[in-house]
Symmetry: D2
Subunit: 124 residues, 4 copies
């Protein structure tokens, strides 16, 4: 979970229909204007969708790999805790699709991310 650790991502729920994670925002997550960097929002959503899919298909010998992500930035976030909630919208044989809401301490949406994940055979 190296990259997730680099970001400080904490996974709180990892179900096959709902997943949640958060990041305690620090200066290292920000861009020069003092806002949380958009790349962090995209990364958190991607991580959550892929990890939730991976956890769900592991028992059947599957693994998960990101296929695409679409991020819409809605409001700037300046600090506090970034919270992500992923809801699964599609469970196909080879792809799963998650919609991820990202919000700050006031609960208002700061970004929406759609994450499509491929289910592949686990290596080895």
């Amino acid at each position: 979970m190296a990259y997730d650790a680099t970001l400080g991502l904490v996974v709180d729920v990892l179900g096959d229909e709902l997943a949640r994670a958060h990041v305690l925002v620090e200066d290292r997550h920000k861009q020069p204007m003092g806002l949380v960097h958009g790349g962090l929002l995209a990364s958190v959503a991607e991580a959550l969708g892929v990890r939730a899919t991976a956890a769900a298909v592991a028992a059947e010998g599957g693994a998960a790999r990101g296929l695409s992500s679409q991020t819409s930035f809605l409001r700037p976030l300046f600090g506090g805790t970034l919270r992500a909630e992923a809801r699964r919208r599609h469970r196909g044989r080879t792809t799963w699709l998650w919609e991820v809401d990202l919000a700050g301490d006031d609960g208002r949406l700061c970004a929406l991310v759609r994450v499509t994940v491929a289910v592949v055979p686990a290596p080895g």
Copy 2:
């Protein structure tokens, strides 16, 4: 440039039509299967598009903020140097659009990212 430093992003070219950056891939950029994390690819593209726009509009008192990004993951990347090249495809009054190609040492595409950036008045 705090988040960019967290990622190890190095900007090589920052023009108003073309921008280039690279990251020397380390273990901290990877996910558990040993691949470069998709969030890094999205982050690098986002950073490059926003920074190139910001640099171009600064002289006129403008600043830049990400509006959206769409990432398609094409091939896994396992190490070496991740290189990003952003070409500007649209320069509107309020939004710029960049298409960013991401590739590894063999020059083959590993991801495509479309980044839309808002041009806003610089704060203060």
Copy 3:
């Protein structure tokens, strides 16, 4: 509403938080393999998001114009009635964002579309 008429789009609900429309699928909506053409799904979602935004901002002298749409095709649709339901996820000063679910007679999702709409001054 010329293009909407070309498609046979019928709007059923046009609120500022929820909108619904349907199309009775005919052969002219299909591609050679007998499936409903993906372009119809994208068109219906785009039309619904733009028209719902336009209706909501008309009283204040606003008009609406599509900025972007992201469509994920989940299941093929072969006939019957295509139903679209758009939920507004963001209402900003200059942009609104809708997530549109598209389904067939069995109620299962056949596509998801995220539509971003600009609010602009009405011409004239």
Copy 4:
């Protein structure tokens, strides 16, 4: 090619790396403000990417189906001829990716569309 005929789509080039099509814009392609409807732009790009992929894989017993499309609307188009040019950016075993530029008579971009197409076994 029923839906393509509904739209008046004319395919000019259908190669496995480049494809081109056009539509002579009529009133039935427009929305109430007199602009070409965004759904037409998304439809033309989708049709072109899927048809070019289908043509390329037919000899090996393959067929093509749209997986996703991402459209960014850049400038309004009011009439004349809409021209689409699709360049293939990825040719994988199971998915192809096309980037489609759409422009009017003045040659300026009015939209960019990224189309991802699945290669599947031909039915029957």
